[in-house]
């Protein structure tokens, strides 16, 4: 069984974070797997699978100097994981409206009730500071069918005054 670690890392954004962190892992013969790296509110965030022969304590020790230098905090977990286990989404959901506290909790609660398994969620706040706009894109699997999901979205749209729509994803494989 391969030794996979999940690295979670966050810090003020600056150039060079990805290259310096991945260089440390590469020098320990780490093999990177799937990763999500993005800038959120001026911070740079990394969630990264790495398969590495060293134990977790050694990896922590080797990462600490570079993370201290770059002002990053990080966390490592031993995980049971593997590659080539993608689940294909069959629906895309977009929700947008005036930014209000609780919209994610309300929306995802309704979607979960309607059988949605979320595979990917990206959300952003745009607009002017005095009138922020919340935009969320979700891809997932509609395990109870599209109609149930669509009804849940219509209720959400009506009750919260947001725009909520779904589009089935029919992946063309050729």
């Amino acid at each position: 069984m391969k030794n996979w670690l999940m690295l979670t890392l966050v810090g003020k954004d600056r150039p060079g974070i990805v290259s310096e962190v991945s260089r440390v892992l590469f020098d320990m013969k780490g093999n990177l797997g799937e990763a999500s790296m993005t800038r959120l509110g001026g911070n740079f965030t990394i969630m990264l699978m790495v398969c590495i022969p060293e134990n977790i304590i050694t990896v922590k020790e080797k990462l600490r100097p570079v993370c201290d230098k770059l002002g990053l905090s990080f966390h490592l977990d031993e995980i049971e994981a593997g590659l080539h286990q993608h689940i294909e989404p069959d629906v895309r959901i977009s929700i947008h409206g005036a930014d209000e506290p609780g919209i994610v909790a309300l929306a995802t609660d309704a979607l979960s009730e309607a059988g949605l398994n979320i595979l990917n969620l990206e959300s952003d706040v745009g607009g002017y500071p005095e009138s922020p706009v919340y935009v969320m894109h979700i891809e997932g699997v509609a395990s109870d069918g599209f109609d149930t999901l669509d009804k849940a979205l219509q209720v959400l749209a009506r009750e919260k005054g947001v725009v909520a729509r779904m589009t089935p994803i029919d992946t063309m494989v050729g």
């Binding site: 294909e88 029919d170 494989v173």
Partner: protein
Amino acid sequence: MAVLDILVYPDKRLTQVSRPVDEFSKDIKIFIKDLEETFRSYPGCVGIAAPQVGRFERIVLVDISHKPQHNNHGFLVLINPKITSCEGNSLGREGCLSVPDYTGKVERAKSITLEALNGNGDKQELKISGYEARAVQHEIDHLDGKLFIDRLVGRRNSLNKRIELSTDLKNDNG
């Protein structure tokens, strides 16, 4: 009849440009039967191109008729296909037998007009739109040594850089 082996990326042969079919031999007809059996052996697959099995001739098969929600022309045998006009754009998700365990968003023309020979060598002109047009464009790309990962759009387009390198390799091979 036989199920043929599929070339899988990063096999460089997938970047090869295929030559036109100039003779309708008995061998071609047998090959088309084998090619059909090959793509039908993969559940959910809607098409295949000859270079995917290592035969670099301009032959494409498409059949989306098991997805009746999409307009279609039934089983299409397209030999030396040529897109003569395109209209509109649409974004959709694609996967490929030659790129297992990865799907991504690709922009294609919404509708196309196409000239091609059929399985008997007769000329045909077709107007194709929507999902079927996406499938045909995806398969014709194979004849020109292109994969859908050469055309990824959106945030999850991490393979673009690598593809540019493989394009350079193609040029080196002439």
